[in-house]
Structure formats: C-alpha cells, structure tokens
C-alpha cells in the first residue's frame, strides 16, 4: 500500500517530468544557486556555509575563491598539516630521509643473490656463468673458500646442476645464505609471535580496541612501534603516535605518500581555499602519476617524489596559465619517471656518463648492477610520454595527431631526464638528445635545437585549438555536468584561446555562464569517494583529528589516493564509482561518521536536537531533500523517536547525498 502511495506522490511532485525544455536554459532559484556553488566550488557545504555565502554575496564569494592567496587559511588546517613533516621538506631531504635503507629492512629480501658473482672480474665471471663445467670447476677451485661459498650460494640451479664437484656444496651454501638472511630479517622486522605472548595473539587478531590498547600499554615502549607495524590498517588507526614510527622503520617511503594522502583529506575538510583544493584534486588527476610504479633503478621512488609533484608542479599553477602547468609537470621527476621520459634517448646515443643506467637484467637476473659497456640498455626512444602528453594532457585522443606526431614529440623530449635517483632534479642531458629536425603537427622544429625542442613542443601543444577544447570540456564536465552543453564548452575554449590559456579566465567564463546555474547542472554529478568522504564530514560539522581511517575508507569506496596506475587518472564519470560493493561502502561510511564510529572523526549531532527530519535533511544537504527520501524516512522511522544522529546517518546515505 505504502509503495503505491509513494509512487503516486512521485508522479504528483514531478508532473512535468519529460518536459521538452532544455534544462540548461532553466535557471536555478537564488537559494539553489548558493547550494550549487557550494557543491561545485567546495567539498560540500558545512552547516553554516549557506548563511555565510548569502551574507557575503554569492558572486563576491565566488570571486574570492578564484583568488585563493587572498583568503586567510584555516589555522586548524595548518595545525593538522604540521605533523606531516614530509609535506614541507625540500625534495632532496625527503629522498635522503625517507628512502629505504638498502642494506636492511625490506630491501634485503630482494637483494640480488648474484651480487658476489657480479663483483667478480669479468673473465672469471664469464667462466662461472657461461663456461664449461671444467672451466667453472677450475675457477672455483682457485677461489678463496669464503668467496667460493658466496659465489656458490648465488649460482643458478641449472648452472650448479652441471658442476658435479660443487653441486652439493652449492645447495648447502644457498640454504645457509637463505637462513642467514631470514634470521637477519626476522631480527630487523620481528613477526608478532616474537613480540607478544601467545595469549595476546588472539586479542590482536580480534581487532577489539580496548583489548589492543591494553596489550600495547603493557609492552616495552621500544617494542610498541614494531607491534603496531604488524597490525592490520584498521587497528593501526588506534595508535597514531606509534604508527608513523612503525612505518619509518619498515617502509619509510610509504610514510611520504601517507602524509600526502592524509593531507588531501585534511585540506578537503578544512581548507578555506576550497576551490583551490578542488582544483588540485582535479589537475592532479588530469596529470596523473602513480606513486606505486616501480622504476627499475628507483624502487618506489614515486612515493618520495609525488608530494613535491603536487606541491611544486600542480598546486601553484591551477589558476595560472595552462602552458606553465603543462611545462611544470613535464619537467618534474615524478612525471619523467612515471611516463619513462627520463630514459628515452636518441637511438644512437651512448650509454655513458652520469645518466647511464646502472641496473638491469644480467644473465636473467633482474636489477643487477650493469658494469659499464657490458650490455646495451637504454639506447633509444620511448614513446610513452610523447603519446600520453597529447592524448591525455593536451589535444585529446581525437585532437588530430598521428603516430608520426607521437614519435616527433618523443624525439623533442629526448634528454629531458633526472639527474640521479639520489638527487632527483630535472636536467637536460645533451648526449641523449635527438638533434635532428622534427615535424610536429605541421610545425617544423629545426635541427640542432637541444632542450629548446621540448619547450617548443610544449608551446605547440599548449596553444593548439584542440587543447583549448579538450581542457574546457574536462573542466565543464567536472564543474557543470557529465555531458556539458557544447555551446558552453565552445565559449570556454574561446576564452582559453584569447587569454593564452589563462585557467582563471576559463573558470570565470564557466562560473558566469547561465549553464552553471541551470537545472541541467543541478545535482548532475555523482560524488567521487574523496568528495563523498569530505562532504560527509563537512555536512556533519565534524572534526577530522586523524585522517588515517578516512583515507582507508576512501580506498575501500574505490579511490585509493595517489595510486591510480593508468595515466588517465580516474575517469570523471558516475559509473567509475557506482559498483554494488562500492555503493554499500558509501552508505556504510555515512552511517559510521554519523554514529561517531570512524576513528579520527568526531561529530556532534546535538545541534539538530529537536528538529524534524526534513529540517535535519535540509541542513545536511544544503537544500531540500527529495520527497521520496523524506517519505522513506517518515515511514521507516514512524513512532520511533529517532535521535538526530540516526536521521543523519540515513540522510547521508540517501540517493540525494550521493550527488553534488
């Protein structure tokens, strides 16, 4: 009966559904315009935001958001960020402080077992690996016994197999080496059973907060970080004071990207410069790099560079000229590593100098040290950056380039590389550069150019009409609607062309357009998990005292921060986020926040005490809830006298709150 009733209600409330008028021509009411602006320029309205924007005037407030350096930053945010020390360090300090110790820790497990063999003089080494059984035996006979044991330990199975005299000794040596390593590793990274009493193990597995706290209290303080390091991420949330130290001991490079992930959450929740934060999120995704990519000679270097990439390349330019933003990303070591340009070289360039790769596959063993001149490794072009810079960063896939243009761009950027993993800074390496003439999108780039070739390519790409359209489309999709009106995109592209790609001017054209404040744009976007999480905490007027758990929940909702493998970034459309498990995770996150069950998030729903459901919903959403949502609330809660927190948990999980 009730269902029939509510469907009838829906029909009554939406008598004009299927109306033919263009929704992008229908203007929003002044009330909704404020809500719209808050939903697009911020990570969602807080309880008092609507009133504040009304007081200062909508257009004045938007103008101000477009000039973030005139906005005084929130002291609470600054205090939160202070703890995340890697955020403000120069890159060189981050690298030296947070790179894993190559001799200990996790690196040991992947240390090359052939190290001793690789260090042998070349003539000896060749006999050991590629010689006949007799040659190998003779060389081994002549070795100092201690060295021989090390060499035998690293000898591949199939080689040892054909060395009858030393076969058994090799097996023994390998076993001894493995045992020694695992003992060392166990000492360095003791497993839980070495640290805890057997009766405590069950408590640790249970994840029960109080029992866990009691166990940690009892421990010797020096052991606490080691124990915390072994806990599942959910339980680590209870121990912010030991968590970081634990991470520093085992995987310091992850501490840097953890700082960055937590900072992203704090900024989204607290920053007064909300539009800037929305744009940093947007442009990072546009110029995506993945912190987890392993580059051969730079294991997980992405983690230690990605903070600087956001801070130094993206953040200062999100409202500047597109060309500067493009150039800053092109030259940053994080991008040079991520899209492989650092090792792309003219096909005939030499494998010498300080930039020559020192590691590679040697005798089938990866990550071996390559003695100079032994093996040709980086010896030519890599098309990765050349293609993606056009397809994803500038022209768009239909922007009118060919395979020949991909190669031309790649050639222009040869020699744009990184000084060294220890000192990761941009450097131009002339001996890697292709000095020949190139033709890019019809433009001739004269021979003999050098570093200038890359700058010229940037210039051509940044000023191409396809780029103006592609960049405008992306922004309009993010801020207006998944399928924005072409007329709007065209006007934005015109501004882009007229202003030499001034992104602030393009944003202004969009924000001043009738389309931005139209019914077509209203609730047109489904929130990303980051937007969902931040807007939930903001709507509740909550405090984020520790972002660890929220970062995990955002990943569980389908958006691991700074870890999108593909250079596309996360596709900016609803279907990216709406899988079945992800949808339930979103509803559960909302409920957990409202109930105060997310570690590090504190909320106080008492401000809504005594209000009816519709008023609570209006306060959380920043506008009226849909009649259907209110109907479901009223029916389900009838006669139950629910607390404001219960109502909030339902509103925040409702279809209405899924959108912005």
């Amino acid at each position: 009966m009730k269902r029939v009733y509510s469907i009838a209600l829906a029909v009554m409330v939406y008598p004009h559904s299927g109306h033919a008028a263009d929704p992008f021509e229908q203007k929003l009411s002044p009330e909704r315009q404020i809500s719209q602006a808050l939903n697009r320029l911020t990570f969602g309205p807080r309880p008092d935001d609507i009133e504040e924007v009304r007081r200062s005037g909508l257009s004045k407030w938007m103008e101000k958001q477009l000039r973030p350096n005139q906005i005084v930053e929130n002291p609470v945010l600054e205090q939160r960020l202070q703890r995340l020390e890697s955020l403000s360090m120069p890159v060189s300090d981050v690298v030296s402080k947070y790179s894993p110790d190559p001799n200990m820790g996790m690196m040991m497990t992947i240390e090359n077992p052939m190290a001793a063999i690789n260090k042998l003089p070349q003539n000896v080494r060749i006999k050991v690996i590629n010689g006949t059984a007799e040659e190998r035996t003779a060389v081994l006979d002549a070795m100092d016994p201690e060295l021989r044991t090390k060499v035998l330990a690293g000898l591949p199975d199939n080689v040892a197999e054909y060395t009858p005299k030393y076969k058994d000794e090799a097996v023994k040596a390998r076993k001894a080496m493995q045992e020694e390593r695992s003992a060392l590793l166990r000492k360095r990274n003791p497993p839980l059973q070495d640290l805890l009493r057997p009766e405590d193990m069950a408590a640790v597995r249970s994840g029960d907060k109080d029992r866990l706290m009691a166990i940690i209290e009892r421990l010797d303080p020096t052991k606490r970080p080691d124990v915390v390091a072994m806990l599942p991420p959910k339980s680590q949330a209870f121990f912010p004071e030991y968590r970081r130290e634990a991470q520093m001991r085992r995987t310091p490079q992850l501490a840097v990207s953890q700082d960055l992930k937590e900072a992203r959450m704090y900024r989204a929740v607290y920053s007064n410069r909300q539009l800037e934060e929305v744009l940093v999120d947007y442009w990072f995704n546009h110029f995506n790099v993945d912190a987890t990519k392993n580059v051969a000679m730079t294991v997980n270097l992405g983690h230690v560079l990605i903070g600087s990439y956001e801070r130094d390349a993206i953040r200062p330019r999100v409202l500047g000229h597109f060309k500067d933003l493009l150039l800053a990303t092109a030259r940053h070591p994080a991008m040079l590593y991520y899209l492989d340009n650092w090792e792309s070289a003219a096909p005939d360039s030499f494998n010498v100098g300080p930039f020559a790769p020192r590691r590679g596959v040697l005798n089938g063993v990866p990550n071996s040290i390559i003695p100079n001149g032994l093996q040709r490794l980086a010896h030519g072009l890599n098309e990765n950056y050349g293609r993606e810079v056009m397809e994803l960063h500038t022209l768009g896939v239909k922007g009118g380039y060919t395979q020949a243009d991909v190669i031309a761009v790649a050639r222009c950027f040869t020699g744009w590389t990184v000084r060294s993993p220890e000192n990761p800074e941009f450097v131009f390496a002339p001996f890697m550069h292709d000095f020949g003439e190139k033709t890019l999108l019809g433009h001739k780039i004269a021979a003999g150019g050098g570093e200038q070739d890359g700058l010229q390519a940037i210039d051509i790409l940044a000023h191409h009409p396809s780029t103006a359209k592609f960049i405008s489309l992306g922004l309009a999709r993010h801020f207006v609607a998944e399928h924005p009106p072409q007329a709007l995109v065209d006007r934005m592209a015109q501004t882009f062309m007229k202003t030499d790609g001034d992104l602030r001017a393009v944003m202004e054209t969009m924000f001043r357009s009738p389309e931005f404040f139209s019914e077509g744009a209203w609730d047109a976007r489904v929130k990303s998990p980051l937007e969902m999480a931040a807007s939930t905490i903001r709507a509740m007027g909550g405090e984020l005292t520790d972002a660890w758990s929220t970062v995990q929940r955002v990943a569980e909702m389908g958006q691991p921060l700074y870890a999108k493998i593909e250079p596309t970034g996360y596709p900016d459309v609803a279907e990216t986020w709406l899988g079945a498990t992800a949808a339930i995770a979103r509803m559960n996150f909302a409920a957990a926040v409202a109930a105060g069950e997310v570690p590090g998030v504190s909320v106080d729903a008492s401000r809504w005490q005594g209000l009816d459901q519709a008023s609570i919903a209006r306060s959380l959403l920043g506008h009226e809830a849909s009649p259907q949502t209110l109907e479901a609330l009223a029916t389900g809660l009838a006669g139950k006298n629910p607390s404001p927190a219960v109502v909030a948990s339902l509103v925040l999980g409702s279809p209405d709150f899924e959108r912005r």
Partner: protein
Amino acid sequence: MATRRFFLRGSAIAMAGMGQAPMWLARAAASEGRKRKTLVAIFMRGAADGLNIVAPFGDRRYRDVRPTLALQAPLARDENSNNGPFGPVIDLDGKFGLHAGLRPFKELWDRKQLAIVEATGSPDPSRSHFDAQDYMESGTPGKTGSGWLNRALGDPVGDASPLRAVALSSRVPRTLRGEHEAVALGNVQDFNITDHERLSILRNMYTLTPDATMRRTGKDAFEAMQMLQGMAKDPARNGPGPGPFPQGPGGPSQNNRPSYPMGGQLGRNLQELARLIKSDAGVEAAFAEVDGWDHHQNENTQLPILLNQFSNAIAAFCQDLGDRMADVVIVTMSEFGRTVEENGTGGTDHGHGSLMMVLGGAVQGGKIYGEWPGLEKEQLFEGRDLAVTTDFRVVLSELLRGHLGRNDLSAVFPGFKPGTSLGLLRS
C-alpha cells in the same frame, strides 16, 4: 515462468524492505540460479606484450627484433620447473613457448584445457589504450557503446539470478554495461549492512528515488548483498571443490601447485567468483581485470612477476572449480599488442596484434590457433607491429555460440560476420 521469478525476487525485496528477509527466501532465490554455463572474460589492461607472453621462438626474426628482450628458447628437457618466472620459455609445439611466468598453465595445456589464439586483435588501428579498450569492450571497433558481454546476455530466461552478470571490480566495466543488470563486486569483505532498520529505510529510498542512476545502483547493490549474505550463512555451499590436480604430500606451498594467494588481486577476485559458481548463484557472465601491462621500460623484470600472478590466479581458479570447469570457459584479451621491435628503454611501445587465451573443460586445447603473420618488416602492420589475422570477435563469437548457446549474434557484434570457426570448443 516469469511470474514465479517475479514473485521470488520481488517478494524477497519487499520482505527485506521490512527488515526481515528470511533465510529460506534468500536461499530459494539463490537455488533458483541453478547450474549455469559461465563465460569469464579477463581483460589485461595496458596492452599486454603477446610476443613475450607466448614467444614465437621458432620465428628466426624474433631474436633480431628483440636483441635484449627476446626470451631464451626452451631447453631440450624442461628441467627448470622450480626456477620461478625467469628463464627459458616452456616449449608448446616446437615454434611457440610459454613464458616461464606462465608455468602454472603448462599443466592446463597438457590436459588440453588451454588454447592460444595468436595474432588476434581489432581491425581498428588505434594505439590509444583508452579508445582501444572502449572499442574492444563494446565489441564494436571504432565505436563505443554498451558492452558485448552485456548484449550477449540476452533476455533472462525463467529464473535469472541477480548475479547473472558479475564484474569482480569496484565498478561495472564497459564490457558488462548496458541494458541488462550487472553487478560490480569489489571488496566483498564488508559487503553488508548489519542494521536491519537502516537497511530497510535505505532500500526504500533507493527504490523510490526518481534518480534512475541511483535507483539502479541501489537495486543491484541490495539484491547482490542479500544473495551473498544468504550464501555466506549456508556453509554447505562453500566447501572446497575437488581439484583436477592431485594434491602433493607437501601441500600447495611445497608442491608447486598454483595458489590464489600467489595470484594477487586477480587471485582474490577469482576465488570469490569460484565461490559464486560453486554455490550455483546463476552467474552467466563474469568479468575480471588485471592492470599494469603497459611495459614501456624494463619489461623483462616486470612481466615475469605479473605473468606469474596472472597464471597462478587462473590456474588456482581452474583447480578450485574442478569438475565444474566443464561449465566454465575463460577468455583473456588485451586492447592491443606491443611493438615488435623493443624500444630504447628495455621495453616495448604501443603496437597492434596480440593474443588471446581460452581455458576451460570444454576447450579443444593444447593447440595454437590462428595464422602466424610473421615478423619480417613487410609482414608487419604499418611496418612496425604484429598484424592481426584473427579478429577478436571471431574468438568471442565462437565462445558465445558454442558455450553460452547464443546463435544469433547480430546484436552482439553488429555488422560482423565471423566466418569459419576456429574449432576452439569440443562439440
């Protein structure tokens, strides 16, 4: 029939809406799924390098075009079975060899449950990952639209399950998007709303909302959640299946058996899928994906590890399903292949032709299918990439016909005539 199905699913929802979905009903809905034929599509995102996955060591150009990347030809006697993912290839037919990282596939090959189709791909020349993935997932080269596997589902017959089409992923990929319901199951660990009152109100909201996207999202999510909850509470459905592989005395870790944990995320996803299939959840189409095949540099250290995970996950799935593999066919695909010549940085750039693998109890395996186009310069696509001699739709058409019994494929691959069949399935 439609009435009965409607009653069962409709009433299960209605009862859940009142916060008291009884177990018998969930179970009834589940058993309605019955045994089904299942087609599993596994997408290797990033353009997998077919040439080093199944290496054409018998082609004399192979070593020339890949001076540092070429894999070692197989040893006369395969003595290297414990040596992990590095080392010489494993001989298949004297011309092609499996990458050592695919060692878990060797047994499937020997049991004739694995077929390889060489030089497959799309007639569209795009070298953009994202366009090419869209085209392949749509099944319409050069155009995008709904997914081929969604269209292949056809209208549900009788007692279709809410888990009829499942993506083991955080979102529904294009392959499964379209008219028919498809459910994305990412992390199923916490896939539950324990508070019945909250559940029933939320469910009501998502049923009533005029927002069509959210209505569909809610419907898929709540139905799938309820079905999985029903299954989780019924231990009889969750026992391990008899494996086709004899268990060695040392257990899985010591006898070189494939294992899910060694299969990474794909392993976890396929384990979940196996659970659904063994529970007769009525899965007809499933999709899983693996990222990270875009090896522009240092390929020979990255590919082996990835292939090792990939093959462990799939072989463990076959082992887990045991006899049920008679009802399951797995097909792998990637948006395009990689350049025939290695690039300047120990990797390969975006190319054209690649390969597909087909696995299952009904597969006529142990054989390389497709015409090998050769690696001489004039034999290459645009002078640089492996040519495509078998359209990917030929392979998919054959599996849809032979395995899922879809005879009319005009709506699945519009305008495409697959021609003579390769004979991938035993008839």
